[in-house]
Amino acid sequence: MNRSTLDLWVGIFVTIGVAAILFLSLKVGNLLTVSNDQGYRLEAEFDNIGGLKLRAPVKAAGVVVGRVEGIKLDPKTYEAVVTLKIDRGYEFSKDTIASILTSGLLGEVYIGLDSGGDTKMLADGDRITKTQSAIVLEKLIGQFLFDKAAGGGDAPAASGGAAPAAAATGGTR
């Protein structure tokens, strides 16, 4: 094999290999738009986090503004403490409500932030005090059956009772 031909082939190989790594990083991994190390952390306490997982998205008005970075149980209050990492550039008021939501029936679990009217903004390390826990389907069904039994099989009354039950299970704290 001629020297320059060999060099050419190795050069082509390395070039397309590096191009493949760049493609995976930029197009598939979306490295350009997601800034990993930029941002600040917030904490939120929930009664029940349902199926929330690490790295689940944090959304405000449907826009992804951060990720769930840590989940642990407070040993004193027995409540789940969720650490949220919010991208730099997004600020939320002190009275923001954090709720655990599900996209669709079987979709991913995410945290939704609804900003309030307070002029003071949450800073790094602050705790979101108003939270809404995940709606656990089993509890909801149990509540529905309980209401139905109590209502004596009256169908309209039972279906009317399910809506307050849902509100009670995932009530604002």
């Binding site: 290999g17 790594i21 598939v28 790295r55």
Partner: protein, 260 residues
């Protein structure tokens, strides 16, 4: 009699292990020599990397196309067609890219390295080099080892890229999933640090394992025609097994605590 045979087999395998450890250390020590002999290393990158391109690209394309077909079949039962891009990208970048590319690399390039070094030993070229005060570890082994380490991550990345391209062809062009949701969901789910960097680390580790096994088996082969063929077989078997075992260990360490 049987006891004596068991004892001899044990002693010889322990001896082999000791030699392997000493040899690995010597190869790692001599690896920088590959940079001084850049011409030889480039030649080995050509043999192990460039010549493996066709098999890697074609199999990547087909693996991606099959993944898309099978994934679509299952996902459509749950009405989650749009997640096809996520399924394909995550399984390729995390697992299939490094592992399947590593297996192909072991059988395509690893076996060739073993056969070449084994034949050099059989025809006493290695001894001749030592006579001429040329260290075969620096002249023959180090460039092949280094070439394998350079080639393997690039091949794995090309495999994943071709797989995603194949899935795009089948999913978007053939089946008709919306291209925006295919790429959008993929970009939302694939994380650079967790998925892509870990995939690249995996392929580097596999490259080191396969190259080390290949040069060791060649260097340690019995200097006969049968010995070289046995060594070649051992390379493919040992490197395939160690890729799969290493993959399990690495996956346990990389992806624990993510709820996957």
């Amino acid at each position: 009699m049987a006891l004596r045979r068991v004892g001899r087999a044990t002693i010889s395998s322990v001896e082999r292990l000791g030699f392997a450890a000493r040899f690995s250390l010597a190869v790692v020590v001599h690896a920088p020599a590959a940079l001084r002999r850049l011409r030889l290393t480039l030649r080995e990158i050509y043999f192990s990397g460039v010549l493996s391109l066709v098999i890697i690209l074609v199999s990547g394309l087909f693996v991606g196309m099959v993944l898309a077909l099978q994934g679509y079949d299952v996902l459509t039962r749950y009405g989650a067609n749009e997640s096809l891009g996520v399924l394909v990208a995550l399984s390729l970048v995390r697992e299939l890219g490094p592992v399947v590319a590593g297996l192909l690399f072991a059988s395509r390039a690893g076996s060739a390295i073993t056969a070449e070094i084994g034949l050099m030993k059989t025809t006493e070229q290695l001894s001749a080099m030592e006579m001429m005060a040329v260290d075969p570890l620096a002249r023959v082994v180090a460039p092949r080892f280094f070439g394998g380490i350079v080639s393997m991550p690039l091949l794995a990345a090309l495999f994943s890229t071709m797989g995603i391209f194949g899935a795009y062809l089948v999913g978007v062009r053939l089946i008709g999933i919306d291209a925006g949701s295919f790429w959008g969901n993929m970009q939302a789910a694939v994380d650079f640090r967790y998925d892509i960097v870990n995939g690249i680390i995996k392929s580097v580790v596999f490259g080191i394992a396969v190259s080390l096994i290949a040069v060791f088996e060649g260097y340690h082969a019995r200097p006969t025609a049968e010995g070289v063929s046995t060594a070649t077989t051992r390379t493919v078997v040992a490197s395939s097994l160690s890729i799969l075992a290493l993959d399990f260990v690495l996956t346990v360490f990389m992806f624990r605590g993510l709820g996957v």
